[in-house]
Structure formats: structure tokens, C-alpha cells
Amino acid sequence: MGNIALEMASNKEKSENWDLVIRPAGSAVTLNFKDIWKYRDLLFMFVKRDYVSVYKQTILGPLWFFIQPVLTTLTFALVFGRIARLSTDGLPMLAFYLCGIVAWNYFADCLNTTSGTFINNANIFGKVYFPRIIIPVSVVISNLMKFALQFLLLIMLVCYYAFFTEQQVQPNWLIVFTPLLLLIMGVMGLGFGIIISSYTTKYRDLKFLVTFGVQLFMYATPVAYPLSALPEKYQNILKWNPVTPIVECFRYAFLGKGTFDIFMLLYAALFSTVLLMCGMVVFNKVEKNFMDTV
């Protein structure tokens, strides 16, 4: 045993002269940011590929990005607004629901698309090495395109209400926080997504849980109802949901009603950062050997 230890030590010394050392997985968790930086062109290429391929698809391709939130908004307006008569904080129903849906969609899309990283890219991953994290990161960036289209819809609706009606829709300076909100949502979606994708390589059932879980998660987030309409007790529980402050802040910024709490936002930011770190560790461990289990 002493011999082996000695050998290891000498190997460690030697390794400094080499550009690359391939070792068994799990010996050390390395977050190789240098490597990711080296492949930044690839990240850009993947994003570009996603844009171009969507653009080149059928005419209806990008149109679906509009149809989905519009139909969901109408459904929400009918079910929650008309039938269940849930409060919308005195805001026009369409604007209220669309605002929540657009924000939620970005988070949910990031989570859903990144959670399939390993399974969907097994083919490429089995043939060539690049930092695997490039794929989910590129997906999160690509999703911004879909968000932008839906966001456009929201802006148009908000403008309509603000300029042509007497409704109380008041976009305010908090709009400048939008990129930050997007960043937090992206990071959080990515964090959840890569953790799930790491475990789905081995335990496939998780995949079914995700689709279903994300749907349930939405109801635990004030998308179809305002946080303020809840009894105190439930509000306090819901505040622990890190997506809550984002959706609420988003709504406050664009419609003028909602809960804006800087501490809750900080909590969401912290939560997503820690989640992403954990995700990277798990992802890193799985990426080395997943080809054997996929």
C-alpha cells in the first residue's frame, strides 16, 4: 500500500507537465471553467443552430410560440377568472394571466429542455468530447428567443391597456430588473434541469415525474392567482417557493400590482446560485460515465 501511495504522489508531480490527465470518475469534482471558456465558440454555435433551425422550419413553427400562451391565457381567464372567480388584483384578466404565463413559461421551458440533456444528446456525447454543460447552457440561452416572442405579445397587450383603456395597468421603473429576473429564472431552470438530467440517465422514470411535477409546481406558484389573494398562512409557505418572488416582481414591474420584496428576490437569487452549483457537481460526476449507463 505504501508503494501505491508513493506512486500516486509521483504521478501528481508528473501531472503538472501534462496538458490533460484522464482519471477515473469521482476521484475529484472539478468545475472546469477554463475548459468551458475554451469552448465558448461552440456555445455560440449551438445557440445559433437552435435559432436557425426554428426559423427555417415551417411557417407555423414560431407561431406556436404565440398560440400556446394565448390559449393558456384564455383558458385561465375562463376557468380561474370567470368560473372560479379568483382575484386578479384588480388587473385586467388577460394582462394578469399572460404576464404570469410568460414569466413561468421561460422558467418551465428551461427546466424541461435541460432535463433531457443527457438522453437527447447521447448520440453526440458518445462520439466526441466537449464540456457537456455547454448543451444545457446553450438551451437556456436559446429559450430566450421563445421568451422574446411571448414577451412581445405581453408588451403589446400592456401597451393596449395602458394607452387605450381606463384600466389600471401601470408599468414602472422596476422593468429594468427584467434581465436580472430572466437570469435568476434561467439559472434556476438550468440548476433543476441538469440535476434531473443527471439522474434520468440511470433512473428513467424520473422523466415522467418531471412533466407532471412542473405542472404541479406551477400551481404552487402565483401564476393563476396573485400572492396577495391568499390567506396569510399560505402566503408564508408560498414565499419559500423561489419562483414566487420572480413572477410577482415581473407582474409588479409590468402591470403595477403585485408583491415586490427585495429580500425575497435575494433569496431567489441565492437559491438558484446554490442550486446551480449543486447541479454542476452532480452533472460533472455523471458526464464522465453516463455513456455506460444510458
Binding site: W18, R23, Y39, V52, I124, G126
Partner: protein
């Protein structure tokens, strides 16, 4: 010469069979062992990899304690049968999967070509795919830009470069894909059998390009192929993997010869079970002139092929016995035929002339047939033998490939 790849005792274990209900419990077991600071309980029970045998455990060593090193500018051929562990080795080297044990040290950038056209997107144009594929293979955008014209030129699809690749013929697709790969700027190139693509002309071009890369640019290449000709042309050194272990390492000629002789080493042949065919070869073995059975002959010795043929009692037609001698590449050298008529057992001896075949490994096919109508039996590689050149005028060439025959030609000069 400095070492650019150093492989130290690399082993890789795989789990066989379905990953089903057992995995979670195995994972828990493994985790529990780790918590107690014990060795992984499943690492011990792995067996040597032999795909033909049913193992006792679900774990198998696809690679076991492989060590070798590659010098700068060397072209190393990796050969072995299917399932010998070649692909696993390449996968570990290209960091697609990681080893179970051992370490590999690498100096310089590695680019691996386990497949051409990885990540090609059908909706994108040829140009866009060149950039995408190049980036996936590890090139930066500026590198691809500077080589773009060269790549397109090499691929020969200039006309279609702005067309989505989904409209390409499969040949054009592969040409473009290989062209990108061939222009990778990395110190070390790992190539799997991707050369078996495209038409013959393009294959030649690819092989030529590989040779260029190796000779002129002084890059290190690891080349895996079943094509012994290509391996021999490109590589200087070789290693043989067998059942996940390193079976041989040496100069490429030695390696290929070793591989081929181990592939076709059939000392003798016998068919004791009998056959329903009207005539079949019951036994075959090689001997020297005096009838002493052996498989290694001197250049100055005669090789005698002894065939025992069994004919059914009611078989009355005359038939031919043919013997085909092949060289170590499986290249057919010559055939000799004679006609017989028999019922019952027939002993046939064929004596090959001495001082004809130069040193090397040879293999024999034997056939029974009725000329112009029926092949009664054809046994490929029925027996094989080696000639050792102990002192012909051509022995000085040693391992060099100078053709299989010594032919006495008339030389004149004025």
C-alpha cells in the same frame, strides 16, 4: 522524441445486461461499502472479457491493465478483433467515458474522430454545418474561418455549400464531414474506422490526407482499423488488443503479422462428424517431405499438404481437388488443381515447390468441386503455415514487404 501519450494501467469495467431493478440496490450496496471505507464490492468480481463465453457475473473488464506510450509524431495502429476493447480504449482517450482504474497523461490537444459528421444538423446549410461540426470537434471559430476554403475545396461540394445538408446525397454529406475532420488542428488525432466511407476515390483521398498529416505535419495519430493494408501503410508502430488485454506491441509489420498469424493459425483441420455431402475433406495437415507434421518451414524446405477426403460409396463422378495459397493479407497467390475419381477414402498429397515462397505467414483454402457445375466443399483457411527465410538472397530485406515470391529472373548487363 518526447512522449505525448502515456497510458498507465487503464482498466474499464462494464455492467452487462439490462439495467433494471438491480441497479438501485447495487448502488446502495456500493454506497454503503464506500461509507465504511471498503473497496467497491462489484469491482472484484469482474472477469476477463471474452464475448464468446458466458460469464458468471454481470460485470466484465472491457479493458484490463493496458499500458503503453506514444511518442510525438508517431502513428500508432490499434488492432484487434471485434469486442477486443479497441473502441473502449478510444472512447476513454477521447474522454467520452472515463476509465474505472488507471491514468492517462496527454500532452497537446486531442481531437477524436469516432464518427464523421457528429452533430450535423439537416436544416443547416453546408457552410453552417462546417462551423458547427468544427466547433464540436474543438476548433475555434477563427480557426475554422481560416481553413474554410481548404475544407470546402477538399470536400468537393463547393456548389452546394449554401444548401441545407438534408438535400445532400449521402456521399456528399460524408465528404463534407470528413473534410472538416481532416483539417482539425490538434497535435494528437484519434481516428476510428471512419475511412470506410465514400466512394473508392474519396477513400484514397482520405488515406492520402491521413498519411500527409502524419508525415508532413508530424502529428501524432492513433488509428484503429480492420483494414490491415491501411494500418500498414499509415502506421509505424502497432498494438494488438485481445479480450481487453494488451496482447502485443511492436513495429507495425511485426504487429500485423502477429495479428494475422494468430487469426489464421490453424495447425490442422479435421471433420470427424462426417458430412452428408457426396465428398468432403475429413482431415488436413501439413508436413515436411518425410511426413513429419509441422507448420513452420524453412525457405529451402518443401511444404507438403496432406488431405484426407471421404467420398460416399455411391459417388461415382470424377471431381477436382483444389488448393489455394494466400499470403498474410488474405491476398490470393496461386491455385493448384488435380482431378480424382474415387469412392470411399482418398489420400491426396500436394507438395509445394521449395525456394518459392519468401518468409512470412501463409494460409490455404481447400476445395472439392466438379468443374463447371458443383462446388462440393470449400474450406477457408483450412491450414496455415509460416516460412522462415534462413538464408535466401532476399533474406536481407527482413520484415520489409517485397512480395511473396522468389522468382529466378535473368539479369543481363552490357
Amino acid at each position: 522524441m518526447k512522449t505525448v501519450i502515456k497510458v498507465n494501467n487503464i482498466s474499464k469495467m462494464y455492467r452487462l445486461g439490462e439495467i433494471g431493478t438491480g441497479t438501485l440496490s447495487h448502488d446502495l450496496n456500493r454506497w454503503f461499502a464506500r461509507v465504511r471505507g471498503k473497496e467497491d464490492p462489484y469491482l472484484k468480481i469482474g472477469e476477463v472479457n471474452d464475448r464468446t463465453k458466458q460469464g458468471n457475473s454481470n460485470y466484465v473488464w472491457s479493458l484490463k491493465d493496458i499500458s503503453f506510450s506514444v511518442e510525438e509524431g508517431e502513428v500508432l495502429g490499434v488492432i484487434g478483433r471485434n469486442g477486443a476493447g479497441k473502441s473502449t480504449l478510444l472512447k476513454i482517450l477521447s474522454r467520452v467515458t472515463s476509465p474505472t482504474k488507471g491514468e492517462i497523461f496527454v500532452k497537446g490537444r486531442i481531437a477524436s474522430l469516432l464518427e464523421v459528421g457528429t452533430g450535423f444538423h439537416p436544416e443547416l446549410t453546408g457552410r453552417e454545418n462546417v462551423f458547427l461540426n468544427g466547433a464540436i470537434l474543438g476548433m475555434t471559430k477563427s480557426e475554422i474561418k481560416s481553413k474554410f476554403d481548404e475544407i470546402v475545396d477538399f470536400s468537393g461540394v463547393e456548389k452546394y455549400i449554401e444548401t441545407p445538408v438534408k438535400r445532400y446525397s449521402s456521399g456528399m454529406y460524408v465528404r463534407l464531414a470528413f473534410a472538416v475532420a481532416a483539417h482539425l488542428e490538434s497535435e494528437i488525432l484519434i481516428v476510428d474506422e471512419v475511412l470506410a466511407v465514400g466512394d473508392l476515390e474519396f477513400q484514397k483521398k482520405c488515406l492520402g490526407k491521413m498519411g500527409d498529416v502524419a508525415k508532413n505535419e508530424g502529428r501524432t495519430i492513433l488509428f484503429v482499423s480492420h483494414n490491415m493494408g491501411a494500418v500498414k501503410n499509415l502506421c509505424k508502430k502497432g498494438i494488438i488488443l485481445q479480450n481487453g488485454q494488451l496482447a502485443f506491441a511492436g513495429s507495425i509489420n511485426e504487429t500485423v503479422e502477429h495479428y494475422i498469424s494468430s487469426q489464421i493459425s490453424n495447425a490442422e483441420y479435421s471433420n470427424e462428424k462426417g458430412s452428408s455431402k457426396p465428398a468432403y475433406i475429413k482431415k488436413a495437415l501439413l508436413s515436411d517431405k518425410k511426413g513429419k507434421s509441422k507448420n513452420t518451414f524453412d525457405f529451402f524446405e518443401n511444404v507438403k499438404i496432406n488431405l484426407e477426403i471421404a467420398c460416399q460409396a455411391d459417388f461415382t463422378q470424377s471431381f477436382n481437388v483444389g488448393v489455394l495459397v494466400k499470403d498474410k493479407w488474405g491476398q490470393k497467390l496461386f491455385t493448384t488443381v488435380n482431378s480424382y475419381k474415387s469412392s470411399g477414402a482418398l489420400q491426396v498429397q500436394v507438395t509445394l515447390p521449395s525456394q518459392l515462397l519468401l518468409g512470412g505467414a501463409y494460409s490455404i483454402d481447400a476445395a472439392l468441386f466438379i468443374p463447371g457445375s458443383v462446388t462440393l466443399e470449400y474450406v477457408k483457411d483450412i491450414v496455415s503455415f509460416t516460412i522462415v527465410d534462413s538464408g535466401s538472397a532476399l533474406a536481407i530485406f527482413g520484415d520489409a514487404d517485397i512480395g511473396p515470391f522468389k522468382v529466378d529472373c535473368i539479369w543481363e548487363s552490357q
